[in-house]
Each structure stands twice: as C-alpha cells, then as structure tokens.
Amino acid sequence: MNQASMYCIETTHLTHQFAPGKNILDDINLQVPTGSIYGFLGPNGAGKTTTLRLILGLLKKQKGEIRIFGQSLAENRVAILRKLGSLIETPSLYGHLTAAENLLLLQKIYQSPKARIPEVLELVGLPDTANKKVSQFSLGMKQRLSIAVALLNQPDLLILDEPTNGLDPNGIIEMRELLKRLNQEQGITILISSHLLAEIEKLVTHVGIIHKGQLLFEGTLPDLVHKQQESSRVSLITNDNARSLQLVQSLQPEAQQQNGKLLLPLLPPEQIAQLNRHLVQNNIDVYHLAVEKNDLESIFMELVNN
C-alpha cells in the first residue's frame, strides 16, 4: 500500500499563528489512516478547530503541507471537497428555510440525486421534519441536520468538529452508532474532534491528542490503552513508610515515596504477594496494598498536564 492510499489525511509540519510570535499550531504532523475513525482530542483552545479549518481550507495555510486522499489541498481543493463532508463547530443552516430546502440548495451544487434528501434525513433520525423551518429546530435537531448536510454528497471522508454538542445522552449514543455504521458499512473515514475522551473512546480506532498547539500523542486506541497499562502502579501504605521503602527497594529498586505512599511499577500478582510477605516478616504493618490503574481519561489528562 502506498502513502497515498494509506492516509486519508496527512499534515506535515503544519504551523499556524494568528499573532506574530505565538504559534496556535506548532509543527503538527497528523496522519489519519484511510478507513479509520480518528478521534482528535484536546481541551478547549488546544488547536483542534484551527487544525480542522486549515484542513478544510477555511483558513489560509501559513506553513506546512496538507494532503487529503493523497493529493495536495492547495492544488486540488475543489476535487477534494467534492468527496468530503464536514461540520465545523456550530451548524451552518439557514433558519428561514425548511430542512429540505437547506439540503436542496446544497444538492444543486453537489448535483447529487434529489432522492438523497429524504434518505439523509431518515439516516439522521429526522424523517418527518423535511417541511419544518430550521428556525423551529432545537440545537440537537440542528446538529443532526448538519450531519445530514455533511452526508448529502456520499462523502469518502467526514470531518466533524464536536458533533455531539447540544445532543442529549440518547442522541449521543445514536450519533455514535450512526458514525460506526457509516464507517463499517460504507467505509467512510471519519475525523472527529472532541474535548472529552470518554465521549469518543467507544467509537474511535485511532487517537490524536493535541494540547497548546502540539500533537502530544498519535496512534491506535490499543496504543493508548497500552500506555494506560504502562502507567499503572502498585501503591502501598504502611505504619513506617521510610523503613518500608528501604525494604522494598532491596527487591524493587524503582520504588519511591510520594504523598505518603510507596509507589512501584505494575508487578505480577506473585511478586506483589512476595513483597507483602517480605514487609510483614520484617514487622511492618501493611495498611493498604493496591494496583492503581489509570483510566484513559487520566492518561489524557496526564499527557495534557505534562
């Protein structure tokens, strides 16, 4: 497989600033594999939307390269946009028009079949709203209609910036199922941004974590889970932590004391039992012995805070 087909989106050394000397994005090298659901994570203001706006050509690129479907965005903008659907931040809908009219004016441009309009409305769960004015829609309905707009041209790539904003828990689950289905049944690559890992960890196959304009992590979800396991630790509290540390270090030199606890790297259960025995045999009272597992959210926070 060549580079062109391997990555649906690829940015190289993407750097952007709104004011001189202050990089909003700093050397972002994003690689979104074809066929993946890529979760683009980061706290508010991390640079997610700026990255997505650059990828869509909504911001003038200053430095770096953007390739989509293996083609340079600068040279093939129109051809690329023909195969792409997007939703950036708030929905872009005309309130004085009905849902069907909002879709119809884009159907004119994409020249997609008119039958596609009821189809996408059905797909996003708005089958009976075709003739309802969008100004009467709730935020959640607008968000769904925006997804319908993004799907109108049967895109190969969907770029969604926080698409669950305004959706109720049920709506979030439905949206997740819809995106999974689109990815699995139609092979659509999805790049979805969020500031909540918990919201997308059940959906994505790949993850990119951005903070203060820098890409801190990029890889598959199992890679992130592996990182989680790596960061799990054994913690101990005893009646004499100082002496315990000396005893433990004779078996596990990496052990250290932190915030009234002894912390060790994750050990097999047999070794944990051996450690406990060793302490008890040396007249140490063990009050607490546990494996501390970081969930994905803590890994995310740890990456962001470091």
Binding site: R53, L56, G57, L58, L59, K60, R77, V78, A79, L81, R82, L84, S86, I88, E89, T90, P91, S92, L93, Y94, G95, H96, L97, E101, L104, L105, L106, K108, I109, Y110, Q111, V149
Partner: protein, 261 residues
C-alpha cells in the same frame, strides 16, 4: 464552468426565498407606486389634471422617481445587499459555502449575480407598478379620461434601465462592505452615512466624483434642474467605471481574505 456557475446561482437564489431581503425588494418596488395609487384614488379631482398633463406617462414615471432616486433606492440597496450577505454570517453559512466543491470565483460571482438580479427585480417591479399606479385610478373611476397617448414602453424601459445603471456603483460598494465585515452595522452604517453624504454633496461642484449621488443627478438631469455638468464623462459611463472598479476591488479582497468562515 457555466453549468457550475448556474447551479451555484440557483443555490444562492434559493437562500433569498422568504428572506428579509426578498420582502424588502418586493415592498421597495411597490412602495411609492402604492402610495401614489392610494393618493389618486382618494383625491380624485387631482387626477383629471394629472392625466391632462402631456406627455403624461414620461412625466408620471419621472415624478415617481423623485424620492426613489435620492433616498429610497440607495437605502434599499444598502439594506438589501447587507441582508443578503448577512444571511451567511447569521447562519454561520460561509464555512459551509467554502467547503462545497466550488472555486472562490464561482462563490463570489454567484452571490453577486443574485444581488444584482434582486436589485433588477426591484426596478422592474417599480416600473410595472408605476404603470399600474397610473392606470388603476382611471380603470376604477371609469368616467375619468384615460391618457390618450400610447404607453411609451421604450422610453419607460430606457429611463428605468438608466436608473439601474446609476445604482450599480452603490450595489458594488455595498456588496464589498457586506461580505468583508461580519458585523451588520458596519455595512449598514457605512451605507447610510454615504447616502446622507451623497445628499449633501448634491450642491457640491465636484458632485460627479460621488457615485452615491448618480441616481439623484440623473433625476435632476431628466427634470433639467441639475446645476453642474460633468466635465469628464457622461454619468452612465462614470457609473459603470465605478461599478467595475468596486467589483474588482471587492473580488480581490474576497480572494485574499485570510479567514473564510
């Protein structure tokens, strides 16, 4: 390319459906003729005198243009053009428009065409309703003598077309302001200020330099009341030069805009 532009124009035209700009253009076209019709239906005695004043139809139309040319048309253009561009800002629509597979030239000229056609619609509606405003009282009160002269369609179209040309620089500059500035008040405020400045400039020797005055100047020329003459070019050419210059400037600014939604 032509098909793509046509599709884009259709798409842009659909956005004006039921919009404030659409209603403004519709009511703008009927406003003065509507008032004239009512006045003449009420003050029936004046009607006989007016109908006797020959050539009735040309004088009738020029009379209708009095307030339209100086104030209502410029203000209507300022408002309607700002409202059309505002449709995108209000609906966060620019980012949607700019992620559709159209080049920027198509987007710019499709929207611009819609603005120009909407304005043309206002002029056509005004012309037709001025004819009706002249005819309805006579039809309604059968005893009043209807003007004997044939309706001068050619002259009617020529005068209306000239007023449209005079309005083009305002359309172009308002379009530039409306798509450049997100804040509705910028294009609206600047437009209103320029219209007011143009009214003041009518008594200025160099009034021909101010494109917002051209409608009023043409009206005064038709009435034979314009104090100053243009030493440069006929006012039609001046209007077209300003129109093309503002359009080019607007296009360049649009293409080079760093943020597109």
């Amino acid at each position: 390319m032509a098909t793509i532009l046509l599709n884009s124009i259709q798409s842009e035209w659909m956005k004006t459906k039921r919009s404030a700009a659409f209603w403004l253009v519709l009511s703008g076209g009927f406003f003065i003729p509507g008032i004239l019709t009512l006045v003449h239906l009420v003050y029936i005695k004046k009607l006989g005198k007016i109908y006797a004043n020959t050539p009735f139809w040309e004088k009738w139309l020029i009379n209708g243009w009095e307030s339209m040319s100086v104030l209502l048309i410029p203000m209507g253009i300022v408002l309607a053009t700002s409202l059309i561009a505002q449709l995108e800002y209000k609906s966060n629509g620019w980012k949607q428009v700019h992620t559709t597979p159209q080049n920027l030239t198509t987007v710019f000229f499709a929207k611009y065409t819609v603005v120009l056609v909407l304005m043309l619609q206002m002029f056509v509606l005004f012309g037709l309703s001025m004819y009706l405003a002249g005819a309805i009282p006579a039809w309604y009160y059968g005893h009043i003598q209807y003007p004997k002269e044939a309706f001068p369609w050619g002259r009617f179209i020529q005068i209306n077309a000239s007023f449209y040309v005079m309005a083009l620089p305002i359309v172009a500059l308002q379009y530039l302001l409306s798509i450049q500035f997100k804040n509705f008040m910028v294009s609206l405020g600047a437009g209103v200020a320029l219209v007011v400045a143009a009214i003041i400039a009518l008594s200025w020797r160099y009034v021909y330099l101010v494109p917002y005055t051209y409608g009023a100047i043409y009206y005064l020329q038709l009435q034979g009341k314009m104090r100053f003459k243009s030493n440069i070019l006929d006012i039609h050419y001046l209007a077209l030069i300003y129109f093309f210059a503002f359009t080019l400037l607007s296009y360049i600014l649009y293409l080079t805009k760093k943020e597109k939604g």
